[in-house]
Symmetry: C2
Subunit: 163 residues, 2 copies
């Protein structure tokens, strides 16, 4: 049993990845294994750049090239292990999808902070609508934009923008 931040899962991400790869006659190579490990060693959101950087800093030297990271993250998405949650600063942002409860995000337009929230109602509504439309739902992405409590608070000691 693995504990992935609140939810227990019987099969490790790595195993799940291997299973997926097998269905495509692909192999769980050292690089792919290193990637899953690194991805699931992290519980925050991340983008490709951050992942490449973390892989470059491993003490065991098992680095993975940028191309392979791109290819691997796509596979992980297809495998249902991670998902693309949002897009910040022009980059795709990822998070765990496996072993992590479904949730959505409030994203601050100013500081880009992402606040997770969980609400089963939203999903239920989407499911109902999909059913009505004969649409085979596979996932969703809900991002609410606005200002977080820090950025939205009117400041009295506002710094001047000019010199």
């Amino acid at each position: 049993m693995n504990d992935l931040g609140g939810v227990e899962v019987a099969v490790s991400p790595k195993d799940k990845f291997r299973e997926f790869l097998e269905t495509r006659s692909k192999r769980l190579t050292t690089e792919r294994a290193t990637l899953v490990e690194e991805v699931f060693a992290m519980h925050e959101h991340f983008d490709t750049d951050l992942m490449v950087a973390r892989l470059a800093n491993r003490k065991d030297g098992r680095s993975v090239s940028r191309s392979t990271v791109y290819r691997g993250l796509t596979e992980l998405v297809e495998a249902g292990l991670i998902r693309r949650v949002a897009r910040t600063n022009g980059r795709e942002v990822y998070e765990h999808d496996y072993g992590y409860p479904e949730h959505d995000h409030l994203i601050c337009s100013k500081c880009q902070k992402m606040i997770e929230f969980r609400n089963t109602e939203v999903r239920r509504i989407i499911e109902a609508i999909a059913r009505e439309q004969g649409f085979q739902l596979s996932g969703h992405r809900l991002e609410a934009q606005g200002l977080c409590s820090d950025c939205g608070r009117p400041r009295r000691h506002r710094k001047l923008d000019m010199i």
Copy 2:
């Protein structure tokens, strides 16, 4: 009074754009006027490329350069006239935000078709959650992925992929 596909609005998009521009000491130039016109002459979703193409095909020859279209669409978003709804094939997809009722989308992962749906519950839930978090909501984007009824239907006469 203008009719924008179901909702009547007192001020035309162009006027609203002009008002917005004034608050930034910007002018409603010929190019910007042409762009708003073209954007609101269209009732479907569009991306920058399509808009550039349509502008290039105007019979009155009032074309607008690609850079100006990019700059202008950003301004239109800031003005609240259009919004970025989704991202398909690596491109941002836009739609009217002004004079058009709030809604969300089901997006087919195969043919990219976008099906609009309206549901006030979703918005209400997001508002409640934002309130709880002291988050100043400005908008949201909800895209559900899956297969549309056409693409999801199992085909018996499936064409072979090879030659």
